[in-house]
Symmetry: C2
Subunit: 206 residues, 2 copies
Amino acid sequence: MLIKPASTDYPLHPLLQARWSPRAFVPTLIAAEQILSMLEAARWAASAGNGQPWSFLVVPRDDEAMFARLFGCLAEGNQVWAQHVPLLLLTVAELQREPGKPNPYALYDLGQAVANLTIQATALGLSVHQMAGFNQEQARSEFAIPEAYAPVTVVAIGLQGEPAALPEPLREREEAERTRKPLRSFVFGSVWGQPTTLLADASQAA
Amino acid sequence: MLIKPASTDYPLHPLLQARWSPRAFVPTLIAAEQILSMLEAARWAASAGNGQPWSFLVVPRDDEAMFARLFGCLAEGNQVWAQHVPLLLLTVAELQREPGKPNPYALYDLGQAVANLTIQATALGLSVHQMAGFNQEQARSEFAIPEAYAPVTVVAIGLQGEPAALPEPLREREEAERTRKPLRSFVFGSVWGQPTTLLADASQAA
């Protein structure tokens, strides 16, 4: 199994440092109690006014008909690797607090719930790869999702596989270094675009 | 310190179970290295196409002028308790991938980054309380945030304080039980609105 801890500038909790989004999965099914613990992690996320504007469609690989319906919504580039994944989740945001009253925090809160789910997955030894590349309207139609709700991501979850099982260029991408913008490019102080003095102090101390 | 672990139906990692959003904080300043570790946690979050559409304004309480400017944007109900918080962050989403090309995942990805930041805070023994209740346009104006970006939340971070320090009715809310919708109300199987059979199986097994 390929381990790619984040190359951090400041210390991270091991679960946060270990998490990344592989494409190589083994098809071994995930136990029901692990799936339910991941969803429980999503359940206890923070949300604006405790609105909990999230829903999940749970699609284990052994539910072949349902798996085929969700898999069929994925972009081709994702189907290449996602065909081996033992569990797909369709994440859905509730766009209204009540009829006619939009919830501007629906996507933000759903993101928090999925991040928590991902941490729980990591703690269980599972890997998670989220996809935006799928046909949202096809997913809405396949699963009769009402207009007040929006399909947002498809989440692949399973035990990580070997990069060698992936075709090129995915194998090369799997083994590439993980990268992020430096903190100074997005962590500002009193002036937008200017790094916080905390970073200046830290770099002087280093 | 009031401990309110989530009353879970399925086991959670201790960091996820312990996290909640108190209103009682002690004003003791947070060390720079802890602030930077929390931001590093946000930095390594997953995002669509690794777009990282997030920025943060860091406002420690000892930067009195900046603290007053952000504090002044908060809703009155939040000012009551947030006046004692040692650190506020303004979280900002980048709404476009490039000029004229909206990023529909900006809020979702920012939510993931803040959830990761919150887990790191919890690991450091700190508490986090996110606020949607503030004047976004006032914050944009105070900090000259460009139109292509949106202020989304103000995040209060610090050591938890004693509920007794809060005025009513906040003290009562602080001590109230934490609640969430049951999984069966938002975790579905092949039919929207019908709980996944995993939940039926689990409840038969219990």
